[in-house]
Symmetry: C2
Subunit: 346 residues, 2 copies
């Protein structure tokens, strides 16, 4: 691997000149174009690639951001990652993907790694509240900005990007209501997840507004911390076993909806003809499920984009701000209803 000094000897110029040219430094503005040309050419020909370690060591800038996900195989994460990656690609930052695997031990081991690599920020996708707090402590101590993407929640003193869950739930139930559904069943998210609470709030608000009665028999509560299609399947079966009738189901999220639809189908009920189902998230599979499901889109790619902007903003800010650190920003994006084949008029 060729170094700048070798390049210097090879070209007859000094390392300084090479450096100035290759970085287009303002200090090198008086170097004649011809020289620059020659140097660049030679660098290319010899396959010179500046050593980032040396560079980082000198400049104490790593140009790396940690991107933390609770579970990389979660389709919810995938879409957000896509957005993050696309945005980061235009910046000078390289993402260091960290999969926490919902394990505290892993989290802790990774923290050390990240600090050693001097990452300049953390973009965390939908971490559990507990991890967040811990994260804040440890990264704040090193003045590393943390941006949380995904779940609404956070203390005000941390930057976040999330969807307006309350509004999302409202537009979903509104849709069902408008196409004539009155007896609607609900699969509520786990109580400990903030999103569940917000979404339920949206539902209650709407129901109150139009004097729609929410029948407690038609409400099941998800228990496990993580949502899954299995949980949705079980919940739906519980709903089917009780006597109350319903024409539509609002699932906590898409995964839950998938399970619910399977249960419905297995019970011989056609979706959407005999029962409508709506999800939440607009996970990739929502579009190709059988049937494709009507859902509330979080536009997760955009969440990712916004997360990156927030990070970029945060790293710039210290310059403006006299040592206090940048003000955290709370982005909240508007959800959009995507109508597909899992809902129909009664």
């Amino acid at each position: 691997m060729i170094t700048i000094r070798e390049l210097a000897t090879a070209s007859g110029f000094s390392p300084t000149t090479i450096s100035l040219v290759l970085n287009s430094s303002p200090a090198g503005r008086h170097i004649p174009e011809k020289t620059k040309e020659r140097i660049r050419e030679l660098a290319h020909k010899l396959g010179y690639h500046p050593n980032q370690f040396a560079r980082s060591l000198r400049s104490s800038r790593s140009h790396a951001v940690a991107v933390m996900v609770p579970d990389i195989s979660d389709p919810y994460c995938a879409q957000i990652l896509l957005g993050i990656d696309k945005s980061l690609y235009r910046s000078t930052y390289l993402p260091v993907l960290i999969d926490i695997q919902n394990s505290r031990a892993r989290f802790r081991k990774h923290v050390a790694t990240l600090l050693e690599r001097r990452i300049e920020g953390v973009i965390a996708v939908a971490n559990s509240l507990q991890l967040q707090t811990e994260m804040l402590d440890v990264f704040a101590k090193s003045r590393i900005p943390v941006i949380v993407i995904g779940r609404e929640s956070n203390p005000e003193w941390i930057s976040s990007v999330s969807v307006d869950n309350e509004m999302g739930a409202r537009i979903a139930i509104e849709h069902l209501y408008e196409i004539g559904h009155r007896r609607i069943a609900f699969i509520r998210g786990p109580k400990r997840v903030v999103d569940s609470v917000r979404r339920w709030q949206g539902i209650c608000d709407f129901a109150n507004g139009v004097s729609l009665r929410l029948d407690s028999k038609l409400i099941v509560q998800l228990e496990a911390a993580a949502s899954s299609s299995e949980a949705g399947f079980d919940a739906m079966n519980k709903l089917l076993r009780q006597e109350g009738r319903f024409t539509a189901v609002m699932a906590f999220d898409d995964m839950t909806a998938f399970g619910a639809i399977r249960a419905l189908t297995q019970a011989g009920l056609k979706v959407p003809d005999q029962c409508s189902v709506v999800g939440f998230d607009d996970v990739a599979a929502a579009a190709y499920y059988n049937p494709p499901i009507t859902t509330v889109s979080q536009s997760m790619e955009e969440l990712g984009n916004l997360g990156v902007s927030s990070f970029l903003h945060a790293t710039q800010a210290p310059l403006d701000n006299n040592g206090v650190g940048p003000q955290p920003v709370q982005h909240k994006v508007k959800p959009v209803l995507i109508i597909r084949g899992s809902t129909a008029a009664v």
Copy 2:
């Protein structure tokens, strides 16, 4: 951020001693346990984290591997990533995730980044053949080992981990045959994809063996390079429009199968009662699709694991090998049939 020198002054020892202790270097074996204890404690108390840049600069080892995926939001990648990540976690290597987004421009820009960061290897998931060749040139020049995971294909002079596609296709059709299907339709993968060819080979072999006739009317060919549920949907409709009857469909992969099932359902045909469908890959969604699909499992997590072992092997090898570089290894894993709800006896 505290440095080793600050730690030295704070502790009263020299940087050398600190380094020896913190790295448990053999050279430090004569340092009394008490001293070591004290140093470690202080390091922890002051939150000392060795600067990896300095370390890498000194040792010219980055402890980083590039993990290249063609498209991060592809569920096929997700599972493999999971395996890679889990294996890498136990090693000293940090993955640098690179999403190529199927774009040559992105690929090229990233190559520079990777070389600058002195990554020690590349684990590439299912890249198109063209990119592979290019990759080999550029990385081979820098003696960086490349491992290709996923699609069977490669020249023998490159390490790879892939599933036995021929066998996979065979066990799939064998399953259909055993439960009584004789008129089987096929959605073949794109011609340019090596996997398609292999899988088709497996099918023909089996058909020959049992003298099963393959009706050309019942074969549709996917055109686009990438498989998608939409393509499967269209292909299935084409199949439905022609007059030949069939009781089962073998799809190129799971995504195709999803689309096919949707088309079948929309046409009023019940899966599996009126038509069985098998996929290939065992993507996560295969388990929670409606109905859950019978498919050939590539055990992608294991592919990921094997990819990492191959990489680890390759980086170790130069030591054994006198400068020639390690022998590439071709791993081929056995696929397994996962029987779920999309197939039934005739």
